[in-house]
């Protein structure tokens, strides 16, 4: 008996989603260099040949994960309406989004970090990661520009450079030893003081 009736049989699309989730969990746990096709199959609960049926190669798998990350990222950013908020409120929304992800979905940030490293050597990964990084950067930059325009942020603020610092600062906050909600918030508050207009 090679395919018992009680074993879940899924269409390829949902299988691929399931596989992507398993891979992300494994990368978060053991990193890229510890990623094994057999472990992925085991976690999904399928045979390694079945895994290869849905995903032609390990390389394709990694591309799939990069795309799944990008899709998640953009979906989350689109979920919240930001139009009616002040630039400072938008920036704070960015912070709270990030904090929520860090605590409720840490695997996402971990895997993004790993993928970011790999993007340097793997064009296929870079093709999925670069737009995501660009989207985020653009989002923050637009907030900073709006804040500079309405006087709530510094007049001498350079949006592109400052966006890099804001994002870098957020990421750095998570890499401190023993990150907590409080330690994250301390860094976020400092970023706020970095960009706010002192004379307002």
């Amino acid at each position: 008996m090679t395919a018992p009736a009680d074993l879940a049989r899924r269409d390829t699309d949902s299988r691929r989603t399931e596989i992507a989730g398993a891979v992300r969990a494994l990368i978060a746990e053991r990193g890229f260099e510890g990623l094994r096709m057999r472990d992925i199959a085991d976690r999904v609960g399928i045979n390694i040949a079945t895994l290869h049926y849905h995903i032609p190669s390990k390389e394709a798998l990694i591309t799939l994960v990069a795309q799944s990350l990008r899709d998640d990222f953009i979906a989350q950013h689109r979920a919240q309406p930001r139009e009616n908020l002040s630039p400072l409120e938008q920036l704070r929304l960015e912070f709270s989004d990030f904090r929520d992800t860090f605590f409720n979905n840490p695997e996402r940030l971990l895997v993004m970090g790993e993928m970011q490293e790999r993007a340097r050597r793997d064009p296929a990964v870079a093709a999925a990661m670069t737009p995501m990084r660009g989207y985020w950067h653009q989002q923050v930059r637009a907030i900073l520009e709006a804040g500079r325009a309405d006087g709530s942020f510094r007049a001498d603020l350079e949006p592109a450079a400052a966006a890099a610092i804001v994002i870098g600062g957020m990421v750095a906050a998570t890499k401190q030893p023993n990150p907590s909600a409080e330690s994250l918030d301390r860094v976020f508050a400092e970023i706020e003081r970095c960009v706010r207009n002192p004379s307002s």
Copy 2:
């Protein structure tokens, strides 16, 4: 003839240093998941058994590299006298140090990034990386505290959080697409504006 006279014969200490250098170059090129003992031996120009003679295991090798990074890092930071400089000058020295390393020794920063990722799962690596990160953080924090004290930096600046942002901002600057001396300097200048006292 298995050990010809024209083949370099080195004592274990200098061999280990040589091996650490080769490993760092390989990690920078291919990342952690592409690191192979045979490639290391090839790059050093020795047999794989000789490699294992000097380094008992791959794990020990990685610890060795982490330590070599830490030693380099601290050596460079001790090299420049900072005592007679103003806080702002000290901060700028930090920037130029970092920029020099990025362009003259990019392998160092690349490998530090990879190791930082790995530190999360490997206590031995963490033991070497955490003090390095801590040293750097402490260095920047001291500069920021001094600047706040003498009024050249913001009075409401929180040194620990700001240090995280300064370091995170520097690192983020190198991860922009197509980083150049100019793009780095734009970020560094923005960091300066972030911390300076607006009323001075």
